[in-house]
Amino acid sequence: MNVQFKKGVLDLCVLSMLKESDQYGYELANTLSEMIQISDGTVYPILRKLAQDGLVTTYLQESQSGPPRKYYKLTGLGRKTLTALQQEWQSFSRAVNHIVGGDAS
């Protein structure tokens, strides 16, 4: 899959995945790498940047197996940003589909 395509949408993907429920890094990394072929390690720098920008917060939670896990949770700002990004993405992808589909000419 084209690298340039993925770069811009990773933030949007991560935020979207946190919309329904809080998740820990491993989960996010696994799902993302399966769906859009990225290396797992990519997710952590993104999560850190999102936390620094105040879009997500983290908390530790015990698990039945192994050590406590760091969960990521959307903040209010994160939700707002997600909604804005989603709208942007919808109109952008619609326009691109339109052009790629040949309807624009």
Partner: protein
């Protein structure tokens, strides 16, 4: 790569960051390893899935460098850097061959890179003229110098061997001096050879930088 090696690589690549932040980042990766292993994966599998630790670590300094590829090609492309394992054969024609190589190199990153409305003809002209008028000759000079260097190194070492061989025909007093001279010359030849290998390595690295700079100029202008 084991978990320990992976964390060490990440830590090393993060040098310069506050210690507390480095610890925090390493904890994230340690947690990733632990969960993966509890699901039956080996350390090597997990390390491979995480991707090149240096590349991942670099992303913390500059989020623009996000390495989204699984294959090395994709990683190199996305990071905009050329890895050191690039072959000499591919780099030399790229340096000397001017515009043809530059434009074909650009095609790989996709036609959508760079704003199309920007007028790049000036930059293109500059890159072509620079390569035709200057770089070509500079590259030939540098590489022939390196070549003659390694030939003389071999010559010096060979002389040393000859001196050793002929030392057998001399009397005992002269022989000791000749043997020492012979060994000295061989060592000198080897030292020159090693120096030349390093010089060649640095030159190739310089060429890579030069090609990158050319590509950037070609696609983005001044």
């Amino acid at each position: 790569m084991t978990r320990k090696e992976y964390l060490m690589s990440v830590r090393r690549a993060l040098t310069g960051m506050p210690e507390a932040e480095i610890d925090d980042i390493c904890r994230d990766f340690a947690e990733h390893f632990e969960i993966g292993m509890s699901q039956g994966k080996t350390e090597h599998e997990i390390a491979a899935e995480l991707g090149n630790p240096e590349m991942v670590a670099k992303t913390y300094f500059d989020p623009e460098l996000i390495t989204v590829g699984h294959t090395m090609d994709e990683i190199v492309e996305s990071a905009g850097s050329v890895d050191s394992n690039i072959s000499v054969a591919s780099i030399i024609p790229a340096t000397t061959g001017a515009s043809a190589e530059n434009s074909s190199g650009g095609a790989a990153t996709g036609p959508i890179s760079g704003p199309p409305e920007k007028d790049l003809s000036g930059a293109h002209l500059f890159v072509v003229l620079l390569n035709v008028l200057v770089s070509w000759w500079v590259a030939i000079t540098i590489f022939s110098t390196l070549y003659s260097f390694i030939v003389s190194a071999a010559g010096i070492a060979a002389t040393g061997v000859l001196v050793l061989v002929f030392s057998g025909f001399l009397g005992s007093a002269g022989m000791a001096i000749m043997i020492l001279t012979g060994i000295g010359l061989i060592l000198l030849g080897i030292a020159f050879g090693i120096l030349d290998i390093f010089l060649t390595k640095w030159t190739i690295r310089g060429c890579e930088c030069y090609v990158r700079w050319n590509k950037k100029l070609w696609h983005e202008g001044f």
